[in-house]
């Protein structure tokens, strides 16, 4: 059998489009409705997705409360409790939650994910992030966001401790940031160890991924960017004694799909019309790690930016896109509001499948993290239109091959 792509579905309350919650068909109370999430998980499982993926931030996503109040991003479920509930309401789909190495301790986090893994029968994964937002930092001390390099050094040690705890190694770690005395008091994972996912794409981020990750989630606009990232990351793995196939690289993709191309475009426009300019500009600013983008003429170009201590990789991606396509701040903000810099495809199932196939077969991705514009509508559309098309082409499974997330992803079971 030829290789098949891996597919995750990235759940985010009302949807990934910043104005999703205002769409007439979006489920506006998603952030307080567990039944809505159970339904989404079952839809994704019926469509044989490898996994559900949840982002996380331990704080508000937007500094300006007036702007935050015009989006649905200020409230939602804490993802580990959410996925624990979904674990017993589903039976096959993988469950991946983001959690920060900056604001947790490895013993507690390793234990919690292992518990989720037991509840789900071996379907849990941890998306390791280093947290780039000063708003979060303010919930954990007086000193603000730590420098990028320090966060990654802590993350490296954190990952090392968690992995050794999961692998049942007797503990006794005394390092730079952490000390841990005992092994975990839970039985070993049904899948050997929960799956390690990572998002973070700077130079240090890639090295950490090459060393520790089973899955890498990334943002890329063009085929060339995705391919360059893919090749670079896989090349780094040899230094850690790993084979390229030990990591599945899954860029985000946000499709707007309909029966006809005209319908898809109309649906997309409908969403774009719902974005207030200040909301779009604020979202863009937060990912660029600057606070005063609104001072610049909205129809002018992106100004020169100071080097970011937040998300270096996303800043680079946005700057690159603004230059490449000659976009004004307004255009860039509106574009960015669709999926925060992730790749977007608007079209029919065949068109979407063509694009995914090209990146998959061109060696730019091992699969995709699907980011529906709004829920539940765009997940349903992907499940009923795109998935069958991919299956017809032999590019995606018709049924789960195994029981655990590692088995779905074709990853080795750790010794």
């Amino acid at each position: 059998m030829t290789a098949q792509m891996k597919l995750g579905v990235f759940l985010w309350a009302t949807g990934h489009h910043i104005a999703a919650w205002r769409h007439p068909k979006s489920h506006v109370t998603a952030g307080i409705d567990i039944d809505h999430y159970i339904q989404l998980a079952r839809t994704a499982e019926a469509a044989k997705f490898d996994m559900i993926f949840c982002e996380d931030a331990a704080g508000l996503r937007e500094a300006n409360i007036g702007i935050g109040s015009q989006t649905s991003r200020s409230i939602g479920f804490e993802p580990i409790s959410l996925l624990s509930a979904l674990a017993v309401q589903t039976s096959r789909i993988g469950l991946v939650s983001t959690a920060s190495t900056s604001y947790n301790e490895p013993y507690g986090l390793a234990r919690t994910f292992l518990s989720l893994d037991h509840l789900s029968g071996g379907r849990a994964g941890w998306n390791l992030v280093t947290s780039a937002s000063p708003i979060e930092a303010a919930n954990f001390g007086a000193t603000g966001l730590k420098p990028h390099a320090d966060r990654y050094e802590r993350a490296r040690e954190f990952a090392e401790v968690v992995t050794s705890l999961w692998h049942g190694k007797a503990s006794g770690h005394a390092g730079q940031s952490f000390s841990v005395r005992d092994p975990l008091d839970l039985p070993r994972s049904p899948q050997g160890a929960p799956v390690m996912v990572q998002a973070g794409a700077s130079d240090v981020g890639r090295d950490l991924a090459a060393r520790t990750a089973d899955v890498v989630f990334t943002a890329a606009q063009t085929f060339e960017e995705a391919k360059a990232f893919h090749d670079d990351l896989k090349a780094r793995m040899a230094a850690y004694g790993r084979e390229p196939d030990d990591i599945k690289i899954m860029p985000g993709v946000s499709p707007v799909v309909a029966e006809t191309e005209a319908e898809a475009r109309e649906k997309h426009e409908e969403l774009q019309e719902l974005i207030p300019d200040d909301v779009g500009v604020a979202l863009l600013s937060s990912y660029l790690s600057i606070s005063d983008l609104w001072r610049y003429p909205i129809d002018g170009p992106l100004p020169e930016l100071p080097e970011s201590e937040g998300m270096k990789s996303r800043q680079a991606l946005v700057v690159e896109q603004s230059r490449r396509d000659g976009l004004s701040i307004r255009q860039l903000a509106r574009h960015f509001a669709g999926a925060r810099g992730h790749w977007r495809i608007v079209g029919t199932a065949a068109q979407v499948a063509d694009e995914l196939q090209a990146r998959f077969e061109g060696g730019a991705a091992d699969g995709f993290n699907v980011m529906p514009s709004y829920f539940p509508g765009e997940l349903d559309a992907f499940a009923t239109l795109v998935v069958p098309e991919l299956q017809r082409r032999g590019l995606f499974r018709r049924d789960y091959e195994g029981l655990t997330l590692r088995e779905h992803l074709g990853l080795k079971r750790p010794a």
Partner: protein, 336 residues
């Protein structure tokens, strides 16, 4: 009872409760909690295994951490309160407040947090605190911690969410409040990025209290768990706690005091019902939290003791409300 007051009953699942029958753990726990719900008990207390124990030996640990287990149990029950133990050493206060706020929404207002005031030196060694905490540091830190958690739980007014699609107003910014806590041990800006609890705030259960902790408990707790003793000594402690609650400006009835009872397999049901009745009628507690070493011991409690208490008019027939606060007869948080 003359005033219609009935006792509150909780059951406690301890580490090691799992008898190794070979049956998968989760279905057994579900069956147990569903039985407790059918018996209309107020709540199940989910202990958290290792870090809380200093014994060094871990026998038959439950394969679950308590907050994740709570979320899972919430989806297979509909009425019973679910209270998870979680330590102030293993979590940052923002993360813990947020986890429980989320659990409360998942359970539709049935979640509670059991914080133990007892210091556990063994635990600190796994959390990058090999030197541990002194008793007084731990106490001051715990009080600050609890204040932050309860403060964060009140960051959103009950009517803050507008969901106004056409007007583009998701929430009312005036009804979201920063905490801006700057204390001795923690700096926390807030607010939580989880909506307000369906029962205003999750229930706070405090246990492991020593004498100097009593004022903190009387000021902050919704439920206080005390070790059992003679009826007389229990009565003295009970009155003392209620007096302290009054002194802290609270309605003494806003704090429920439960006595821990261990169930031995050979206790006869009538004897046990007698014992609970005596203690309850002496007003030495508001109810009981029942501990056991094996799940099977509970069959007898559910089948015989609870119905017997009901016959005597000491325990409710069915749930009247849907939230844990309503089972406990507590007003919504904030305006007690």
């Amino acid at each position: 009872m003359d005033n219609g007051a009935t006792m509150h009953l909780a059951v406690s699942l301890l580490p090691g409760t799992s008898d190794l029958t070979g049956e998968p753990e989760f279905p057994r726990l579900v069956r147990f909690v569903q039985q407790a719900e059918a018996a209309a008990l107020d709540m199940v207390l989910l202990a958290d295994s290792a870090p809380a124990s200093d014994s060094g030996t871990v026998n038959n640990p439950m394969p679950f951490e308590a907050t994740t287990l709570l979320a899972a149990l919430a989806t297979v029950t509909s009425r019973i309160g679910l209270v998870a133990a979680a330590s102030t050493v293993t979590h940052q206060p923002y993360n813990l407040a947020r986890r429980f706020a989320s659990l409360d929404i998942i359970s539709h207002g049935r979640a509670g947090w059991n914080a133990t005031m007892a210091r556990s030196p063994r635990e600190a060694t796994n959390f990058s605190r090999p030197e541990g905490f002194s008793d007084t540091d731990f106490r001051r830190r715990s009080e600050e911690y609890i204040g932050i958690v309860q403060g964060l739980w009140q960051g959103w007014d009950a009517d803050a969410l507008l969901f106004d699609k056409s007007g583009g107003r998701f929430h009312d910014p005036e009804k979201m409040h920063l905490l801006d806590h700057k204390g001795e041990f923690f700096f926390v800006r807030g607010p939580l990025n989880v909506a307000r609890s369906p029962q205003d705030t999750p229930v706070l259960v405090l246990s492991g209290l020593s004498e100097p902790d009593l004022d903190i408990a009387a000021r902050t707790a919704d439920v206080i768990l005390l070790e059992s003793g003679s009826v007389e000594s229990a009565k003295v402690r009970y009155d003392d706690l209620k007096r302290r609650a009054t002194a802290a400006g609270r309605d003494p009835d806003a704090v429920k005091v439960l006595t821990n009872i261990s169930l031995a397999p050979d206790d006869s049901s009538a004897t046990l019902a007698d014992r609970l009745e005596t203690q309850f009628r002496a007003k030495s507690c508001d109810g009981f939290s029942i501990h056991l070493s094996q799940l099977s011991v509970f069959d007898d409690f559910f089948k015989r003791v609870a119905p017997e208490l009901r016959r005597r008019g000491l325990f409710r027939e069915t749930y009247r409300g849907t939230t844990l606060r309503s089972h406990l007869g507590l007003a919504g948080g904030g305006e007690q």
